[in-house]
């Protein structure tokens, strides 16, 4: 858990997150990620064998959380209203640049 992050790691993770970093920015992020990961390595001190991970706290509440609503179809937002917020549409669909390069 004390992995040293390289510039290549930063670039790989940036690609996974659909981020493009300027060359100088990658180095800066590498420095920051290493500082933060060094710090979080403190968690290794704790033996957590057999501890069930806690993803969210609803099950710790004694009353009334996490109840699901009936699976019924309800009216949603109007298409025209939603499309009005998009950078580019044809009135029915969102428009984007081409997906496949020839």
């Amino acid at each position: 858990m004390t992995a040293k992050v390289t510039v290549e790691d930063v670039e790989r993770v940036a690609e996974l997150g659909h981020l493009e970093l300027a060359p100088g920015e990658s180095q800066r992020m590498q420095h920051d990620l290493n500082a933060i990961l060094d710090y979080v390595a403190e968690l290794n001190e704790l033996d957590t064998t057999g501890v069930i991970p806690l993803a969210q706290v609803s099950d710790l509440l004694s009353v009334g959380a996490g109840e699901l609503r009936p699976d019924a179809v309800l009216p949603s937002l109007d298409r025209a209203v939603v499309l009005s917020q998009a950078p580019e549409t044809d009135g029915v669909f969102f428009k984007v640049p081409k997906v496949i390069e020839r």
Binding site: M1, A3, V5, D9, V10, V13, A14, L16, G17, H18, L19, E20, L21, E25, M29, D32, L33, A35, I36, L37, Y39, V40, A41, E42, L43, L46, T48, V51, I52, P53, L54, A55, Q56, V57, S58, L60, L61, S62, V63, G64, A65, G66, E67, L68, R69, L77, D78, V81, V82, S84, Q85, A86, P87, E88, F94, V96, P97, K98, V99, E101
Partner: protein, 496 residues
């Protein structure tokens, strides 16, 4: 008062209380439209320096105020927040107002719906003045990460107001709203409330619907109120709390009359003081102010007990792994397709995604997306994300054990008072470490209140954090009221 503190004007009174204002409107001595107009004048005067409001919703506000005046003129019963001017954080969506979460990537976005908490305020008669600045996507503790410029602390304009809900705290402190809404993921309501000398509430996870809150870390995000006094904050929470079919994590537990609960006094309440919150890094003046607050609680008839929460030191690493992992997933939706900013002239879809996100996100948001993506990536998931979730359970269980012995836990909200603008901007880790006293309650899902608890020699506000068990907001309000009664309450701007 020390010459170090510079205020923007000679003297400003804090907002009147909700009950005073409402009585005035009910009796006809105050008109809601006049009250709203008066607040817009104050905003016009003070906001250019403070930068708390980023957009105003005058038409919607004045329409609502006129509606309240018409009800009052007819002698109809008035809802609980009738005519009360409130402001809304830029991370909560509201029809007819742009919402950007202070990010360039949502520039120009007008959401087609209201957040549940916003709709509930308006249904209770509140007049929604406008939208308040915050750190980009609520990521930050100083409000310096806003794409629309920093907010200044009304108590000392060279200093930060705290973050991420800096605009929400500053607006109340400068009386540019009677109350506001913010959101708190790792301390984003409590810490700015502390820096600006006002009351801020972290409700129990699930107590207030998150529908319409722009998501940062979904298992941690909460919506909560700011006000100039504890009773008003309790009233605000009563309005926005409750189950919402649109948020499956919202609790269906009944909503108490929090304001009435807060009237019950703190006598014979059991208060825990955890040693881990008074260690290295706590500024002596903050410690002294909090110790006076604890003495005040003893004088008010509370029993004070030293307790230990030994996992506290693991809270920051746990928080920054959990929160960034969730953020990296939540922020994947900003891709330039459906709303907000799209980088022009990209040849392909994937280039358009990358350019839009690269140009649209600020440095701190990118840092957190990278950290979160790394912690979730193949080969690191178990070591980082899963490990953090295990420690999260240990932290939560530690609080559950503590609350079997005490009704509330009191700590400093922040180890320091408000720092200078730019002081920590270049050191992300130092900024993260400042969240040391607030992220624990975020991870455990418990509730808490920041209540003003005196000032430093230089006049900077110090805040006490009062924590209580899940869904026991009433206990936190009762204790906070007792502190407020003896330690001076909200600060407000001072005479030089």
């Amino acid at each position: 008062m020390s010459s170090e503190v510079k205020t923007t004007e000679s003297y400003v009174e804090l907002p009147k209380t909700l009950s005073e204002l409402r009585a005035g409107i009910a009796s006809g001595s105050t008109r809601a439209t006049d009250l709203a107009a008066g607040y817009y004048q104050r905003i016009e005067l003070k906001n250019p320096r403070l930068n708390a409001y980023l957009s105003l919703t005058k038409e919607r506000a004045l329409q609502q105020a006129a509606h309240v005046d018409a009800l009052a003129a007819k002698g109809d019963p008035l809802p609980i927040l009738a005519g009360i001017p409130v402001g809304i954080k830029y991370a909560l969506v509201m029809k007819v107002a742009p919402v950007t979460a202070s990010s360039k990537i949502l520039q120009g976005y007008y959401p087609p719906y209201d957040a549940t908490a916003v709709a509930k305020l308006e249904a209770s008669g509140a007049v929604l003045l406008g939208k308040l600045n915050c750190d980009e996507f609520a990521m930050g503790g100083s409000n310096e990460n806003s794409a629309y410029g920093p907010v200044r602390n009304p108590i000392d304009t060279e200093r930060v107001p705290g973050g991420s809900s800096g605009g929400s705290a500053a607006a109340v402190a400068a009386n540019m709203a009677v109350a506001t809404l913010g959101s708190d993921t790792g301390g984003s309501i409590r810490q700015p409330a502390s820096f600006c000398g006002v009351v801020g509430v972290l409700p129990t996870y699930g107590r207030v619907s998150r529908y319409g809150l722009i998501a940062f870390a979904s298992s941690l995000d909460r919506v909560g109120p700011f006000a100039a006094n504890v009773r008003d904050a309790a009233t605000m929470l009563g309005v926005i709390a409750g189950h919402d079919p649109k948020d499956a994590t919202s609790s269906s537990a009944p909503v108490p009359d929090y304001a009435a609960e807060s009237d019950k006094g703190a006598e014979r309440m059991r208060i825990g003081v955890p040693a881990e919150y008074f260690g290295e890094g706590l500024e002596p003046e903050v410690r002294a102010a909090i110790e006076s607050g604890i003495a005040a609680l003893e004088a008010a008839g509370c029993s004070v007990k030293k307790i230990s929460l030994p996992h506290t030191k693991y809270a920051i690493p746990t928080y920054y792994l959990v929160a960034t992992a969730e953020a990296s997933a939540n922020l994947a939706r900003y891709d330039g397709v459906r709303y907000g900013y799209r980088s022009p002239e990209s040849e392909t879809l994937s280039a358009m995604y990358c350019h839009s996100r690269d140009e649209g996100f600020g440095a701190e948001v990118k840092r957190r997306i990278l950290l979160g993506t790394y912690a979730l990536s193949a080969g690191y998931y178990d070591a980082y994300y899963l490990k953090a979730q295990q420690v999260r359970r240990l932290l939560a269980e530690e609080f559950l054990r503590a609350f079997a012995e005490v009704d509330a836990i009191v700590t400093p909200t922040s180890p320091t008072p408000a720092f200078k603008i730019g002081e920590k901007a270049d050191d992300p880790l130092a900024m993260y470490l400042a969240d040391i006293y607030t992220v624990t309650a975020s991870l455990a899902g418990i509730c808490g209140v920041n209540v003003p608890c005196g000032t430093t020699e230089a006049g900077l506000p110090v805040g006490m954090q009062v924590l209580a068990a899940h869904l026991n907001e009433s206990a936190a309000f009762r204790v906070a009221r007792a502190v407020e009664a003896t330690c001076g309450g909200a600060i407000g701007l001072r005479r030089e």
